[in-house]
């Protein structure tokens, strides 16, 4: 086979993969109603299964906040959750809701969760 053709093919493949994966990793703010304020406490729901959903959450700053991570037959990496800002790391039970206390966050603060191997993540942005 022609060497130049193969080089062009390699470069084309790299570009195609770059488009596929950078396009996928661009975090879109999906307006899912996963934030709920009840009795003065803000609850944020995140589903953990094959990744975290929603990937980006907008939450209110200045009120006590709790993170509720829901697993549903989750055996993949997203069950091994690390939330550094809340000093949380652990394996989530396969079918349960895990409550993580985030405390009171200021506007502009960001809480990031990542799975043990670092391939899935989510973030919560706090706004006024």
């Amino acid at each position: 086979m022609n060497k130049i053709a193969l080089i062009i093919l390699s470069i084309a493949l790299v570009i195609v993969f770059a488009i596929i994966f950078s396009g996928g990793s661009k975090k879109q703010i999906i307006s899912v109603n996963n934030v709920e304020i009840k009795d003065g406490i803000q609850y944020i729901r995140i589903d953990a299964k094959g990744g975290y959903s929603p990937a980006v959450t907008l939450a209110k700053a200045g009120i006590p906040t709790k993170l509720l991570v829901q697993t549903n037959n989750t055996f993949d990496c997203s069950a091994a959750l690390v939330v550094r800002d809340a000093d949380f790391q652990g394996i989530l039970p396969q079918n349960a809701e895990t409550e993580i206390d985030l405390g009171i966050k200021q506007a502009g603060e960001k809480v990031e969760g990542v799975c043990g191997m670092g391939m899935y993540n989510f973030e919560i942005n706090f706004e006024v």
Binding site: S10, A55, I91
Partner: protein, 335 residues
């Protein structure tokens, strides 16, 4: 006693010198053997009355299975290696692409209802072996297998030991988790660091397989070199590496460890982890024994280089993900 200088091709690593000298030295008509890796020559002393061509041919037949060839005239390096790497890069990229698309597709995330029975663990193991866990464990298996097949003839025995060590340690450690419960917590930072280490080994082996390192004749640091010599020549090392895969970061493994932990009994924990390891076996065995059969075929150079590309890609992925997992860099991707 006559002394001949023969040209040798196929030497790609420092351990080749030892291997060639060992094999040739065992022939009874051969006296002293000295391999010069830099000049790619072999000096042999022989009592045989045969011509230098016959000796070269006879000795080649002894070391041909290991991929070396002796000749009277220096074989000028053909242009082919260059072409092979350009064929290998797209092949490797296609495999990497298929692998990541499989991860993104989400078909690996289907649910398994209810309690975790050994049968369910086995199925989870099957899924895990084609999941992103493969980035670390599979990449490591592929790179070590290809490297061992490249250097060694007794690769099948090494692979058997590795897989045996892996399944046995999963069963044993699973049992211990069930028995001791929370007394042994598996530390995230520890697994993440182990994962980084594994990804570095993959990067190194991958570049080596691609021929990037050997082309520039970078000699290995002696520590790493000794490590790989042990991997290749000792019985215990493949067992230990099999054992170590229990601690490699893999969400599935960690989930199963959690299940074993909550089983509360030695038998329960052991069954769960044993079934899980058994489930990962088909794909991992295919990787190691597959590379062995490719390594001894005529497509060997293309296979080694393509495997190198795949391993480097997976190694990079595991390395970046590992750094993100430790919180050192922000996560770069969300598969």
């Amino acid at each position: 006693m006559k002394k001949y200088t023969l040209h040798v091709s196929g030497t790609h690593c420092a351990s080749c010198k030892i291997l060639i000298e060992d094999v040739l030295g065992e022939q009874d008509f051969i006296g002293k053997v000295d391999v010069n890796l830099k000049k790619q020559t072999v000096d042999v002393e022989t009592e045989s009355e045969k011509s230098i061509e016959d000796i070269a041919e006879l000795l080649t037949s002894k070391i041909k299975p290991n991929g070396y060839t002796l000749s009277v005239e220096k074989i000028t390096v053909e242009k082919t290696p260059d072409d092979v790497i350009w064929k290998a890069i797209p092949i490797g990229l296609i495999f990497l692409g298929l692998f990541f698309i499989l991860q993104k597709s989400g078909i690996l995330n289907f649910g398994l209802g209810g309690t975790t029975t050994p049968t369910a663990s086995f199925i989870i193991g099957l899924i895990a072996s084609v999941s992103s866990c493969l980035a670390v464990v599979g990449g490591l298996v592929l790179s070590l297998s290809a490297k061992i097949s490249e250097d060694d003839v007794s690769d099948k025995k090494t692979f058997l030991l590795f897989h045996f060590g892996r399944i046995a340690s999963f069963a044993l450690l699973g049992g211990l988790l069930g028995l001791l419960g929370n007394a042994i917590g598996i530390n995230f930072t520890f697994t993440a660091i182990l994962g980084l280490l594994a990804s570095l080994i993959m990067l190194f082996l991958g570049l080596n397989l691609m021929g990037v390192l050997s082309k520039n004749k970078i000699t290995l640091p002696s520590g790493i070199f000794n490590f790989f010599r042990k991997v290749e020549h000792k019985t215990l090392t493949p067992l230990i590496i099999g054992f170590a895969t229990f601690f490699l970061p893999c969400g599935f493994t960690q989930s199963m460890q959690f299940v074993a932990l909550s089983s509360g009994s030695f038998m329960g924990g052991m069954l769960v982890m044993f079934a899980f390891a058994l489930g990962t076996l088909p794909v991992l065995a295919l990787l190691s024994f597959g590379s062995a059969s490719f390594a001894h075929s005529k497509h060997a150079p293309l296979f080694f280089k393509s495997a190198g590309v795949v391993v480097v890609g997976l190694g990079l992925f595991a390395f970046i993900a590992g750094l993100a997992g430790l919180g050192i860099i922000p996560p770069l991707f969300n598969i």
